[in-house]
């Protein structure tokens, strides 16, 4: 039952030589082989590479090295470049792309001794909230195979919830870690913009993209975020500020913590969802936290703001896919324009093309001021309101999603309805703030998430607040039926 153990427990078993990393990796590879065909959570499995890396981790340990992730398996979202391994980004465009270098996130986790089992399925180029836009087909939610796992990091979330790995990496541009973490009943953290390097992470919207962690608990997420975080000269927006010891403050008491209840998050919130959040607030009050109601009047505009800014940046970033230097190329192009247009038209899926065209439109002559510049101004208004709120409170609390996981296919035809799924998560991306989702109960048998948002570089406080909540509650310990053994 190695897959039921926490990262801390696995580390202890490795230290005591009760197991080796090779045995651990074999266990999880066998689970992937048995359970992944029904879930479709992984695009690529890398067993030989994983076993070699596990043997190396065992050698490092025998040579006296220590570390909380040494020999612990993980799954990377297929948005992170992995040298010599296909890196598809969930797209036909990169179906044949073998990354020629490692993302900094991959390098850092490898240096910490973590062992990659494979690459997780995802919405194409991280554009989606349901993992249905993947070229490799939808991922199933382990709690109910008819439901989506959320997106865009749906494969990472489903794999972690199904115990196919103790943790997984993800990226969050508008909620792509927090929303799938909520819908699959696990813990997800998106750190401050600039905290984790974006080098080698295939770009969607560069002013919003940030890498983060999926794990079952905050205590498990802490050492992973620790290993991933820090300055990287290869990312021009990486922030050169020290990374605190997240484990050191996990248990800190919460007495006197000021938690802001965001009025805009509770307005119109479905009653049963609101009740779960209020229960969680009671847990925090029981731990000595104080609550204050705060209001961010411009926050409801975060979704339209995002759907101007993100597509604009996406249309620019994805212009590099031209069918010339790497990626998909159409058959028999009649001239260079035909090569560009058909390689892109055939290589990208419907949602990616929709976002590229939205972005092209809002950046085009005559519309730039009305849409793009306007959205950047509203983005500042939203950000300023967050900053003002954090002069009064330490953390903001609210739901992660408006509803539990929805049916596969239910929202695919109507992009705006799909976009509104991220109504509670997008604000943190616009303002570059760290956010977290943790399991806080169930609706209709499906897990729901509690969201915590903190000021810039407050990851230690978020992990601390999440960990204390998880010491008082058992929601994070629930496992979807069929995945316990």
């Amino acid at each position: 039952m190695l897959h039921t153990l926490s990262i801390g427990e696995l580390g202890l078993a490795l230290v005591r030589k009760e197991i080796s990393s090779v045995e651990l990796v074999r266990h999880f590879l066998a689970r992937i082989e048995r359970l992944n065909p029904a879930l479709n959570a992984l695009i690529t499995v890398t067993p030989e590479r994983a076993l070699a890396a596990a043997a190396e981790a065992d050698r490092r340990r025998a040579a006296g090295e220590k570390g909380p992730l040494l020999g612990i398996p993980l799954i990377h979202k297929d948005i992170f470049c992995t040298d010599g391994v296909r890196t598809s980004c969930g797209s036909r465009m990169l179906d044949n792309f073998i990354a020629p270098y490692d993302a900094t996130v991959v390098t850092r986790l490898e240096a910490a001794g973590a062992v990659m089992l494979g690459k997780a399925n995802m919405d194409e180029f991280a554009m989606g909230s349901s993992n249905e836009t993947s070229y490799y087909g939808p991922v199933k939610n382990p709690w109910d195979p008819r439901k989506v796992p959320g997106g865009s990091s749906g494969g990472s979330a489903a794999a972690t919830a199904a115990r196919l790995a103790p943790f997984a990496t993800g990226t969050d541009t508008g909620g792509s870690i927090r929303q799938p973490a909520a819908l699959t009943g696990i813990t997800g953290i998106k750190p401050t913009y600039g905290r984790v390097s974006r080098y080698g992470m295939i770009a969607f919207a560069s002013s919003l993209d940030q890498a983060g962690v999926f794990a079952r608990t905050a205590a498990d997420a802490a050492p992973v975020l620790q290993a991933m975080s820090g300055f990287d000269p290869r990312d021009s927006t990486s922030i050169d500020t020290p990374v605190p010891d997240y484990a050191a403050t996990l248990d800190a008491p919460l007495k006197g913590l000021k938690i802001g209840l965001l009025r805009e998050f509770f307005d119109g919130l479905e009653a049963r969802n609101a009740a779960l959040i209020r229960d969680a607030i009671e847990v925090y009050r029981g731990l000595g936290a104080e609550t204050v109601e705060v209001s961010l009047p411009h926050l409801p505009l975060s979704v339209p703001t995002y759907y101007v800014v993100a597509p604009a940046e996406c249309s620019s970033n994805l212009s590099r896919f031209d069918g010339v230097r790497f990626g998909y190329r159409c058959e028999n192009p009649k001239d260079l324009t035909d090569l560009y247009e058909r390689s892109r038209g055939e290589g990208f899926g419907p949602e990616v093309k929709r976002r590229i065209m939205t972005g092209t439109y809002v950046l085009s002559a005559g519309y730039f001021d009305a849409y793009y510049l306007k959205a950047q101004k509203v983005r500042r208004l939203i950000t300023d309101e967050f900053r003002a709120a954090f002069t009064q409170v330490d953390l903001l609390i609210g739901p992660t999603t408006p509803t539990p996981a929805f049916d596969i296919g239910a929202k695919l035809e109507d992009p705006v309805t799909m976009y509104l799924n991220d109504i509670y998560t997008i604000g943190a991306n616009l303002a570059g703030l760290p956010g977290m989702s943790l399991p806080c109960g169930f609706l209709d048998g499906l897990p729901m998430g509690l969201q915590l948002i903190g000021p810039h570089f407050s990851e230690a406080k978020l992990l601390n607040a999440a960990h204390r909540y998880q010491l008082e509650t058992g929601w994070h310990a629930r496992s979807p039926a069929g995945y316990e053994t």
Binding site: P304, R325, F326, G327, G345, E346, M357, R380, H456
Partner: protein
């Protein structure tokens, strides 16, 4: 505001995306609904608010020393290319 088929054809051309006959009506409808949705922003008074391009204000783009930091890996990079010849990327004839 509604987008026409001609609008979408123009946008697709600017984005260098071929759109099939089958896809076209879907994009006319869905792009129109997205544009309508984001039009909500036009009602927000923003006066002299300065546009925000970077989530962490005051961050300067760093410059690095002008020294060689990358080694030549042309062969490795070109192994991903759809068509190469003699170390060059091959595309259809551009000049007749």
């Amino acid at each position: 505001m509604s987008l026409t088929r001609q609008d979408v054809e123009k946008i697709a051309h600017l984005a260098r995306l071929s759109i099939t006959e089958q896809e076209m009506p879907v994009y006319v409808t869905s792009l129109s609904s997205i544009v309508n949705f984001v039009d909500e922003l036009s009602r927000v008074p923003t006066g002299a608010v300065e546009p925000m391009a970077h989530p962490l204000d005051g961050q300067q783009q760093r410059l690095r020393a002008d020294v060689v930091s990358e080694t030549d890996q042309r062969e490795k990079y070109q192994s991903n290319a759809p068509a190469v010849q003699a170390g060059l990327y091959v595309v259809p004839r551009v000049i007749e």
